[in-house]
Structure formats: structure tokens, C-alpha cells
């Protein structure tokens, strides 16, 4: 009986050690990120959706996204202007490029060009949007 207890204690210790090492060498866990590609802007002025023009997104390559802006009641927002920002919060750096909305496609849809993700990990892509309903901001999380 005595031996069995020793083995069980040893087993528990090893399991704890093992799970520590296997969980990314004890790095603190990240909070769950909201990865939705459609969401309300911070003050609820807009509902914004983003979608890459081609998937999968290739690391290190310039590509375009379609940004769709609607009011909360589903009306397309026309003639919006955008300031685009973003980066990697974990690494204290911004986007490797400066993406711009280059085309108004109608029906509240806009083409965002010049997006590039240069590494895997958690990226933020933020928009300051100004149009007739007002100014508001929205941030999307991406994990590559």
C-alpha cells in the first residue's frame, strides 16, 4: 500500500509538471479574443463587417478586404471615410503597411487595399469611420 501511495504522489507531481511544460512553457494564458468579422462599432453608430477578398490570407502578401458599413437597422452607409490602423498588441508594433480604402463599391461596401500581415499571431485591424450618421470606431481581431 505504501508503495502505491508514493507512486500516486509521484504521478500527480509529474502530471502537474507535464501540463506546465506542455502548456506553452508556463506562459500566462491569453484572454479569449472575439474573432467575429461583423460587429457593432464602439458607440453603436454602425454595424461593420470585414472579409478578405481572397482566402486563405497569405502571410507577407499585400491583399484587399471588403468593408461593409451599415446602420444598426441594416441601411447601407454611403460615402463613408476611413482611417485605418492596427498592429500586434503583443509585440508593440503597428501594421507593416498603411492600408487605405481606395474604392466605394456601393451598397455600403468599400475596398480596403494594401493590407499585409507579416507574421502569425494576434493582429488588430481598426477603423475610424465618418459618414452622415456620425463618427465611430471599430476594432477587429485576427489570429493568423
Amino acid at each position: 500500500m505504501k508503495f502505491k501511495w508514493l507512486y500516486l504522489i509521484g504521478l500527480a507531481a509529474l502530471l502537474a509538471l507535464g501540463s506546465y511544460f506542455l502548456s506553452d512553457m508556463g506562459m500566462k494564458p491569453k484572454p479569449e479574443l472575439d474573432l467575429s468579422r461583423s460587429r457593432a462599432s464602439e458607440n453603436g453608430v454602425y454595424v461593420v463587417a470585414v472579409a478578405p477578398e481572397a482566402e486563405p490570407i497569405k502571410l507577407g502578401e499585400l491583399h484587399s478586404w471588403i468593408v461593409t458599413v451599415q446602420t444598426p437597422d441594416g441601411m447601407a452607409v454611403e460615402d463613408a471615410s476611413f482611417e485605418v490602423d492596427g498592429g500586434m498588441p503583443d509585440h508593440n508594433h503597428g501594421l507593416p503597411t498603411s492600408p487605405k480604402v481606395t474604392e466605394n463599391l456601393g451598397d455600403g461596401r468599400y475596398r480596403l487595399e494594401g493590407v499585409k500581415f507579416s507574421m502569425t499571431g494576434w493582429w488588430e485591424l481598426s477603423f475610424d469611420i465618418s459618414a452622415a450618421p456620425g463618427s465611430d470606431s471599430v476594432t477587429f481581431n485576427m489570429v493568423l
Binding site: 508503495f3 502505491k4 507512486y7 500516486l8 509521484g10 504521478l11 509529474l14 502530471l15 509538471l17 507535464g18 511544460f21 506542455l22 506553452d24 512553457m25 506562459m27 502571410l59 507577407g60 499585400l62 498592429g87 509585440h91 508593440n92 508594433h93 503597428g94 501594421l95 507593416p96 503597411t97 498603411s98 492600408p99 487605405k100 487595399e113 494594401g114 499585409k116 507579416s118 507574421m119 502569425t120 499571431g121
Partner: protein, 402 residues
């Protein structure tokens, strides 16, 4: 099996699991995918250079190779590109700071695989290989020549070869031997005295020389390494053996590289670079003028008449995405330098943009301690690495250098 036997079995199983997670040969599927992404087999074809219509012209590349090794392409006839880009030394010079006509402020970069980079130089102050090649030619501490002088060299020694590729040279009678906008005050004044049409003709010759050299440099490929053979065996589900084998320490280093040490965050993809600019808190070199890295590089590329959107570029309106969507300002640009490829790095100390670190030990030390940046903010986080882990990381770097 008895209760005791079962316990022993469980302990051994857990122990085995831990060991395999730390240096054994079993990689997770995610690790295998990362290893494959770092392998030369993942390298796509060399991207086109729409700004250089001669980029893939064999005659232009051969002419570019001639110019690359040509010492007459300098003020005093004693410096060529190969003075610092030594062909048998990965096209670099092993010096902390390049030495040509004078001493440079930065370290010579190796040339294999540079055609994949959207930005050239440590600070990305040029956006193509051909506009890069033109810059040292007129740098006072590098070749120290002038574009009018180079046009004369071509007219005197290479007129036929030039004409076969680019068409006849312009009439250079009356053009001074030394004249160029980036030269000495006398050379700049002589340049200004030329009429605009003649300046434009000489600029075109100068651009063409850059395009020939760019075509040559594009052809310099990254060699296969032991790591690539290891990755190929792993991808094929085979046991890496012989010249594909990695030692247990090298494998442990690889695990650190793609795992806890976070190296593969920036040193990613088959060239081990994200082609981006990062402030990693590299110290300043005493006695050198202020160096703001990408912050000044991004201003210089915009002013370069030979950039992708300039008059001498062959690019169409949609061909200059990297230039058009470049980050123009922001705190992240301060003392940010281009992530160098790590292929071959173990065999070419010293390290960093001005050769600040003499050894890989010093480099790993820097990344582990993550000191504050002299200006701007370092992106590094401190890292706890044991002596053994440091050696393992460096051992892994050896596998992409041989």
C-alpha cells in the same frame, strides 16, 4: 497487470510524454507545419519586378554581373560592388561597418534571396534592387562616383554591350567627367549646369545600369541547408538521416526557435524574415551620427527619383503596392531596422545594422535581456534561457548556415 505495475507504467508514460515534448523527435502537427513553412521548399518563385523591364533579361543580368565586379565603377577606379559584397563570403564582408572609399555607418548585407524583399538596405530607403544598386555608386564613402562619370565609363569601355541591351548611349560630348546631384559641391554644380534634357538622358543611362545590376543580383539564390533536408524528410514522414539529420541539441534549438524563444515571430517563412522593420533595442555605436532607422529610410525612399513611382520605373499604376501603402510615420519606425534573413547568419559575424555584436552568444544575450531601446521602444520581451538553451538555439542556427 498489478496495481503497482500499472502505476509504474503510468509514470513512465507521463515521463515519456514530457521528454518527447522537450527535445525528442516527435513534433506536433502545428510544429511540423511551422517547420515546413521555414523550409526552402516553401519558397515561392522569385517575385517579378515590374519596375525593371530588364529584371529577367539574361543579357542585362550578365552585363550587371560585369558591372558588379568592375572597379572602374568608382571615383578612383578601386572600388566595385564586390569590394564589400564578396562572392565567396555570402556577398558580405565580415566587417562591423563596410569599408570602401571610406568607412560606412552600417554593415554590408548579404545578397542571396534579396529579390524577395520589398525594401532594400537596413532602413528600407530603396524599394527595388535596381534603385538600391545606384545608391552606393554615388555615396561619398562607398564608390564616390557621379552618374555623369559612370556614363563616360560605359561609353569608353562598354558602349556596345550597353547598346545591345538598352539602345545607343546619348551624346556625352560637353558632359563633364564628374557631375552628379549627390556629389561634392563642385560635382553638384557641374550637374546643375547641364541642361534638363541632358540630365534626363544621363539619369536614364544611370537607371539602366542599376537595372542591369538588379537583374544580376536577383539571380543570387539561397543555398539548401541541412535544416531544409531535415524538413523535407520530416514532411515526407521519413526519419532524417545522414546529411539531413539534426542532433538532439539542434532539434531542441529548433523547438526553442519556433516556441518559447519567439524567434520565428519575426524570423518567419523560408527566408527567416518577415521583411518588416522592428526596433529591437540594438545599442548605438559611439561616435556615429544619430541613426533613426526606418524613420529616415521611409522619407528617403519617397524622395528617391528612382523609386517605383518615379519617371525611370517601368511599373504600371497598380504595380507599386508596397511603396503606395508604406507606413509613412509613427513611433514604431524609430530605430526600426529590417529583419535580416538568418540563413547563413551563423557563418557571418558580426551582427546587427552596425555590427554591434561580435558573436551569436552576444546576440542571444541581447534578446534574452531585452534592454530598453536607445530611442523609440523595443519590441522585445525579456526571456529566460538557460545556458544550455542558449547553446541549443545557436546550434540550430548552424543548421541553416551549412
Amino acid at each position: 497487470m498489478s496495481g503497482r505495475g500499472l502505476s509504474v507504467f503510468a509514470v513512465l508514460a507521463v515521463l515519456g510524454g514530457i521528454l518527447s515534448g522537450c527535445g525528442g523527435e516527435e513534433f506536433s502537427e502545428a510544429d511540423k507545419a511551422t517547420i515546413a513553412s521555414l523550409s526552402l521548399a516553401s519558397l515561392p518563385a522569385v517575385p517579378t519586378d515590374p519596375s525593371n523591364r530588364y529584371a529577367d533579361d539574361a543579357a542585362a543580368a550578365a552585363f550587371g554581373a560585369t558591372l558588379f565586379f568592375e572597379q572602374r565603377m568608382s571615383r578612383d577606379g578601386d572600388v566595385s560592388c564586390a569590394t564589400c559584397h564578396l562572392i565567396d563570403r555570402q556577398f558580405q564582408d565580415d566587417l562591423p561597418r563596410a569599408k570602401a572609399v571610406g568607412l560606412n555607418n552600417r554593415r554590408t548585407m548579404p545578397l542571396a534571396g534579396v529579390a524577395y524583399s520589398p525594401w532594400q538596405f537596413w532602413d528600407g530607403r530603396r524599394d527595388s534592387l535596381w534603385s538600391q544598386a545606384l545608391t552606393p555608386l554615388e555615396e561619398p564613402v562607398e564608390h564616390a562616383g557621379t552618374r555623369a562619370g559612370y556614363a563616360h565609363v560605359i561609353a569608353q569601355h562598354f558602349a556596345d554591350r550597353y547598346a545591345r541591351i538598352f539602345g545607343p548611349l546619348p551624346d556625352l560630348s560637353g558632359v563633364p567627367e564628374r557631375a552628379g546631384p549627390r556629389g561634392t559641391p563642385e560635382e553638384a554644380a557641374a550637374w546643375q549646369k547641364l541642361d534638363a534634357g541632358k540630365r534626363r538622358e544621363i539619369d536614364q543611362v544611370f537607371a539602366n545600369l542599376g537595372k542591369a545590376m538588379g537583374a544580376f543580383v536577383r539571380s543570387i539564390e539561397l543555398p539548401e541547408t541541412r535544416f531544409d533536408r531535415f524538413a523535407a524528410a520530416l514532411a515526407a514522414g521519413e526519419r532524417p538521416e545522414g546529411d539531413a539529420a539534426l542532433s538532439p541539441d539542434e532539434i531542441a534549438g529548433l523547438r526553442l526557435f519556433i516556441g518559447k524563444a519567439n524567434c520565428a515571430t519575426c524570423h518567419n517563412g523560408p527566408r527567416f524574415t518577415d521583411d518588416g522593420f522592428h526596433n529591437t533595442g540594438v545599442p548605438v555605436v559611439d561616435g556615429l551620427p544619430e541613426d533613426l532607422g526606418r524613420q529616415s529610410g521611409v522619407l528617403q525612399v519617397a524622395e528617391d527619383p528612382f523609386n517605383c513611382e518615379g519617371a525611370f520605373s517601368d511599373a504600371g499604376p497598380d504595380d507599386c503596392g508596397e511603396f503606395r501603402f508604406r507606413v509613412r510615420e509613427g513611433p514604431h519606425l524609430v530605430r526600426a531596422y529590417k529583419t535580416p534573413s538568418l540563413r547563413g547568419a551563423a557563418a557571418r559575424p558580426p551582427y546587427m545594422h552596425s555590427g554591434q555584436f561580435a558573436t551569436l552568444d552576444a546576440v542571444v544575450d541581447h534578446y534574452a535581456t531585452a534592454p530598453a531601446a536607445p530611442a523609440g521602444q523595443s519590441e522585445l520581451h525579456p526571456l529566460t534561457l538557460s545556458e544550455r538553451e542558449r547553446k541549443q538555439l545557436i546550434a540550430f542556427l548552424g543548421t541553416i548556415s551549412e
